[in-house]
């Protein structure tokens, strides 16, 4: 059986992907608060947030980041990823309960490493809501296997 994963050699700079959408629910936020232990009132106090700048509870920024990581895996055939190496990330706007987010991604760089069997792929990512507003954006570096000789 051939390996369906895409190797460093297969991935081209300039490739673009767009994921399906995913509606962020109150349940997502409650579970994430429980999992992470981050009960900041921004995410957990509906009454307090009525009088805030946002007018309601908002999702944790890192929940948005984690959901886009999952959406990315649904945007393209899986990479032969060995590790996630790093990221640079900006939070541009709130994700509210009921918002539907998706990720648009583009391969911006490929760098071979001193080890000949792998390389770093840099992917620029934009997280958009249902109104096409950018809510998060940044770059991620992934260590990807080279196609075995």
């Amino acid at each position: 059986m051939t390996d369906p994963r895409r190797f460093f050699d297969d991935i081209q700079v300039g490739e673009e992907y767009e994921s399906p959408g995913r509606t962020v629910t109150e349940t997502d936020i409650v579970i994430f608060a429980g999992l992470s232990g981050d009960y900041n009132i921004l995410h957990t106090d509906a009454e307090f947030m009525k009088s805030s700048l946002f007018g309601e509870r908002i999702a944790h920024g890192l929940l948005g980041l984690a959901i886009q990581a999952g959406l990315f895996t649904r945007a393209t055939q899986p990479y032969a990823t060995l590790a996630f190496v790093g990221l640079r990330w900006k939070f541009k706007g709130p994700i509210k309960i009921g918002d539907t987010i998706r990720v648009r991604a583009k391969v911006t760089a490929k760098k071979e490493t001193s080890k000949g069997d792998r390389g770093v792929v840099t992917v620029e990512r934009t997280v958009l809501n249902q109104r096409d507003e950018v809510v998060q954006e940044g770059e991620t570096d992934l260590m990807v296997e080279r196609r075995p000789a």
Binding site: L62, A66, G86, W89, G138
Partner: protein
């Protein structure tokens, strides 16, 4: 009524270091996280790299200091230096490296490390927050 204490921009000490309690990352954390996000571990026993980061935000609420009055989490950079495995016990250490006063609040940049049970720094990065100033009495 006594309001819960908050840590404002004026209270943040430049170069101040804060260490959280530690926690063990279990299979349950990984399963719950992967089910919630579909960000799956790359192999059995591996911990998705974003998960320890998420857990350190909660650990940050368990220190003997009131929570920082964050107005906005503006952005961050993050480096995964070595893998985290199920069963590892992690804590985080953070240090304020920049404080910049603005009109409505101040920018605080914090360096954060995630350290495992062997004292190895496994992840590290820099966070930028917009923090509220102390309201006039």
């Amino acid at each position: 009524m006594v309001q819960p204490a908050k840590f404002y921009f004026e209270d943040v000490a430049l170069h101040g270091v804060l260490e959280t309690p530690a926690m063990t990352i279990t299979e349950a954390h990984v399963t719950l996280y992967a089910g919630l996000t579909r960000d799956e571990p790359l192999e059995p026993g591996a911990v998705p790299e974003i998960l320890p980061l998420c857990l350190t935000t909660g650990l940050g609420w368990r220190v003997p200091q009131p929570p920082l009055a964050v107005l906005a989490f503006m952005g961050f950079e993050w480096h995964a230096l070595s893998p985290v495995r199920v069963g590892d016990t992690i804590f985080s250490r953070s240090k304020t490296v920049t404080k910049r006063s603005m009109k409505d609040g101040g920018v605080v940049i914090e360096e954060r490390e995630v350290i495992n049970q062997r004292g190895e720094t496994v992840h590290k990065g820099k966070f930028t927050f917009l923090v509220a100033k102390r309201p006039a009495a």
